[in-house]
């Protein structure tokens, strides 16, 4: 992959702030931070035109570590605040940093509304399936049955699948990646920035303290090849050690098949079309789960649509062209006024 991008003279080091990074040693957040710092020089924006907005959570400390404009706001509201930043100044590159609790528990409503509005923001959702900062309660993505500080008997809730919720909320860009693939992460971040409209990137992130290894079956070195289906637009959906396994559509179900077995040939394998406006297949990909199927990784959906801020600008421009007033003073004096002498 690796889309064509403008480059500028900044380097990764230019995006490192002077603040000591304060996550637990081994936390997945480190590699995400590094991947973002790697990606930024590739998007060709100047540091002063980049803004990181976060809510509250371990992940939400992220802005402090970036040498760019940053705002560590309040729990759950990053999406709304970032929306305001972008509408105020559409020239900025705006990144929302959020956790599974921040974005999907208290902030769920802002997230779904942001997605349908399609404001051109990049959302990085650090999904460690736990509330890290408050020391280990279950989150809306914790698997049913999870034993956590607030569920000593196991949770009794069906979790959200972030991609499924997002597409249900009209998301145009959704990608899923793991914190263990630094290069691929950076690539996806660049693609998210290039996509005009809201881009949601879910990062399967490890919390070494409260939920260690929760994504191991997907992101660990040993399982990665067999358990990840890495999607690339226009490419067949192949996976496994020798890339002999693939995904086939059987009626309305996806199944995992092996090329060469049972008469399966490469052209039986689905070719990924991230640009298809119809979300049906994207949703099927989002829902694939172990052990029957590998987990879909990469850009699952990437559809072009006009952005909220562009439409807002159009209306304002049009109103200004058609306006009979050239100043407020004009306007105040217009219509029904009378003179007292």
């Amino acid at each position: 992959m690796g889309p064509e991008v403008k480059t500028c003279s900044l380097t990764k080091a230019d995006f490192v702030s002077d603040q000591a990074v304060k996550w637990c040693p081994g936390c997945g957040d480190y590699s995400i931070l590094s991947a973002v710092q790697t990606a930024l020089p590739q998007i060709g924006k100047r540091r002063e035109d980049i803004v990181f907005i976060s809510g509250i959570g371990c992940s939400s400390r992220f802005p402090y570590y970036m040498s760019a404009y940053g705002f560590h706001t309040i729990h759950g509201r990053a999406a709304a605040i970032a929306s305001g930043v972008k509408l105020a100044n559409p020239d900025l590159s705006v990144w929302e940093i959020t956790g599974d609790g921040d974005a999907l528990a208290i902030g769920g409503n802002h997230l779904i509304h942001l997605l349908r509005r399609n404001i051109d923001l990049n959302i990085l959702l650090f999904n460690n399936k736990i509330y890290g900062l408050t020391k280990g309660q279950f989150s809306p993505t914790s698997e049913e049955g999870s034993i956590t500080k607030s569920s000593p008997h196991g949770t009794i809730e069906e979790p959200f699948l972030p991609g499924e919720l997002a597409i249900g909320a009209k998301a145009n860009f959704y990608a899923r990646i793991t914190d263990s693939s630094p290069k691929f992460m950076a690539e996806i971040f660049v693609a998210a920035e290039l996509h005009k409209g809201t881009s949601l990137v879910e990062i399967l992130q490890n919390c070494v303290i409260f939920n260690d290894g929760v994504h191991d079956a997907i992101s660990s070195k040993e399982h990665r090849e067999e358990n990840q289906l890495v999607l690339q637009h226009g490419k067949p959906m192949l996976f496994g050690k020798d890339r002999k396994k693939g995904i086939r559509l059987n009626g309305l179900k996806l199944e995992s098949v092996t090329i060469g077995e049972n008469g399966i040939a490469e052209n039986d394998i689905l070719v990924h079309d991230a640009h298809n406006p119809d979300p049906t297949l994207h949703l099927m990909l989002v829902r694939m789960s172990l052990p029957e199927l590998p987990v879909a990784i990469g850009i699952i959906r990437n559809v072009s649509n006009s952005t909220y801020e562009a439409k807002m600008k159009n209306q304002i421009d049009l109103a200004q062209t058609k306006s009979k007033y050239t100043s407020l003073n004009d306007f105040f004096k217009s219509g029904d006024v009378w003179e007292v002498k």
Binding site: Y64, I81, N89
Partner: protein, 616 residues
């Protein structure tokens, strides 16, 4: 701020029912007039029959009207200019619009505005579309079809003509609701009038109730009062409602400060009009973001402020409750933000269409921690323009959230506004706030205002991070240091207090050394002033202090208070401003006059209460 002498016309309403001769307007009007009389009002009425005996249906010549002027007292004429018009067809609108006050309410039967009727009324264009009603509060109600639907469900077997004859009662019901009246008298009248035909009684009562319920359901609000302009101050005038004046004041502040205006808001009665007014003026460049809820409304504004826009959110009581946490964030990050709260009857959902002053404590203290913000309150509809402007000015010059309190009475009330030009408005001194040099630090402060600088994304070399955690003085880095925390808590308080140095001194109307000082704040201005004025004319030793700057109070407040033997605080709540004064200036004793009825004070009741205090 507008301090000129005024011609007050408080608590008097002129309402006109107009329709085709066959529409029963005389009956409706006189019934409404009778009700007004029964309720103890002073009234004057004027039936306005068509000149021609048999003018064609739907023509201007065939319009029949009935005008009622009512009020608590002192009504001497049916009124020159009406505040409310009920127009049952285009001709009725055409015939009467010229004698309706600007910003007055025009209720029309929208079903009757078909092409044919519009032409019959000799309109060349559809008045709903050509902008000719822009200056009125237009309420389009499909009165005919709603009347039909209300009656048809009863299956009374009435013919269409009889059903259509009930639509005047629909209109009567609607107006009754707007003026807070029960339907008992009207129902009695209907039962009496149609006593021979049970079906007609039922049909008319159904129409009456349907109109009443519609008004309640769609939260139709009667405007509050009218203040006529001072005849002695020359200039250009226009009528303006408080909500519109807020919107215009915000626009003026944006132009004056050369900042883009951003509104993040969620609809709520009675504040929605501000958003609806602003969104009509995209030509001015304003960005209006209707958010998914109040929290997103304020948070989007905080984001816009961080990015350099003049950012505003508008709401009413329950919405302000939802915004508390975010106001704390804006306070902590010292970002400019204007929060307009159009108070309504509380608590909880309360009385959404009524007025009250019961959000003061919430505005001052409704957040966690020590979280001071500036609080202002407008005193009249046209004041709303000036205080909206001032709220923006203070927010940006002092880098602080500012809460502007108005109320339903101000927001929906209209008065004449002496048109301002932007040149007359105070300058905004933002050059210091929005510039930075190499020595700059995120929480470095202006020595006079204690404001930090408004360094926004896009400014090269000043990249920095802010947030809601306690910050180190000057650097703005996160700090858990105990002494720094106390220092910052006091610094934020002091910064707000410093606003005192930049606002006008508190004035007193009347002798500034006297027996009794009547204190009011916000939207009760007109009535209290009226009452004190009358008392002064009667020779009573009273003066009046109207507070518009609530937090901080004007610097000379203690000095002003010290000149009076007694102080009485009048407000539409259980005594919130009085409580606040007891906190701020505990050295004085305060008496209270309170009313919590969802209604403004009346001059008479105030005079009575003040007289009681004077003679006690």
């Amino acid at each position: 701020m507008s301090d000129s002498k005024r011609n007050l016309e408080v608590e008097k309403v002129v309402i006109k029912f107009a329709g085709d001769s066959g529409d029963g307007m005389q009956l409706t009007g006189s019934q409404f007039g009778d009700e007004s009389g029964w309720l103890g009002n002073d009234i004057a009425t004027f039936p306005d029959y068509p000149a021609e005996i048999r003018a064609p249906v739907g023509t201007v010549a065939g319009v029949s009207g009935f005008q009622i002027h009512f009020g608590k007292s002192g009504i001497h004429s049916p009124g020159d200019i009406a505040d409310v018009l009920i127009a049952m067809n285009p001709a009725a609108l055409k015939a009467n619009l010229k004698s309706i006050r600007k910003q007055g309410i025009v209720i029309t039967d929208s079903d009757s505005f078909d092409q044919k009727s519009i032409e019959k009324a000799e309109y060349t264009s559809n008045p709903f579309e050509d902008g000719s009603l822009d200056d009125y509060e237009l309420i389009k109600v499909p009165i005919s079809s709603l009347t039909k639907k209300a009656i048809s469900s009863l299956e009374l077997g009435l013919d269409n003509k009889s059903v259509m004859r009930c639509k005047n009662l629909f209109a009567l019901g609607l107006v009754n609701c707007m003026f807070n009246r029960s339907l008992a008298q009207a129902e009695k009248f209907i039962s009496e009038k149609f006593k021979k035909d049970a079906a007609l009684v039922k049909a008319n009562i159904a129409a009456l109730n349907a109109g009443f319920n519609l008004a309640e359901t769609i939260e139709a609000i009667a405007f509050a009062f009218t203040v006529l302009p001072a005849s002695n101050e020359p200039g250009l005038y226009r009528n303006i409602t408080g909500n519109k004046a807020v919107a215009w004041g915000l626009m003026a502040a944006a132009e004056k400060s050369k900042r883009k205006l951003f509104l993040g808001s969620y609809p709520i009665t009675p504040a929605t009009d501000i958003m609806q007014e602003l969104v009509r003026h995209k030509w001015s460049g304003v960005k209006v973001f209707q958010a998914e809820d109040e929290i997103a409304g304020i948070c989007s504004a905080i984001g816009a402020s961080f990015a350099g826009n003049l950012a505003v959110t508008t709401t009413s009581g329950p919405g302000l409750a939802l915004k508390g946490e975010a106001i704390g964030l804006a306070m902590m990050t010292e970002l400019p933000l204007v929060i307009v709260n159009v108070q309504r009857g509380g608590p909880s959902t309360g009385l959404p269409t009524k007025t009250e002053q019961s959000d003061l404590m919430q505005a001052l203290y409704g957040r966690n921690g020590e979280s001071p913000v500036v609080v202002l309150a407008a005193g009249s509809p046209s004041d709303c323009f000036d205080y909206a402007f001032m709220a923006c000015k203070i927010a940006m010059e002092h880098m602080t959230p500012v809460i502007l309190l108005t109320d339903g009475y101000l927001g929906n009330g209209a008065e004449a506004w002496k048109v301002k030009t932007t040149d007359e408005l105070p300058e905004m001194n933002l050059s210091d706030v929005i510039s930075a040099d190499e020595t700059w630090k995120p929480y470095q402060r202006n020595v006079e205002t204690l404001a930090r600088k408004w360094v926004i994304p896009g400014m090269k070399g000043f990249e920095h991070r802010i947030g809601g955690l306690e910050k180190q003085d000057v650097s703005g880095n996160v700090s858990h240091d105990p002494a720094n925390h106390e220092h910052m808590v006091k610094l934020r308080a002091e910064k707000v207090k410093r606003v005192q140095e930049f606002i006008p001194m508190q004035k007193v109307k009347g002798k500034d050394k006297n027996d009794l000082l009547v204190v009011g704040w916000g939207g009760t201005y007109g009535t209290i002033y009226g009452a004190v004025n009358e008392l002064q004319k009667e020779g009573k030793n009273v003066a009046f202090a109207q507070f518009n700057y609530i937090h901080p109070l004007p610097k000379n407040t203690a000095e002003v208070f010290s000149k009076f033997k007694r102080i009485v605080v009048c407000e539409l709540n259980l005594g919130q401003f009085a409580s606040y004064l007891r906190i701020q200036l505990p050295e004085f004793k305060y008496s209270q006059i309170n009313k919590v009825q969802g209604q403004p004070f009346t001059i008479n009741e105030l005079k009575e209460d003040i007289n009681n205090i004077l003679s006690s």
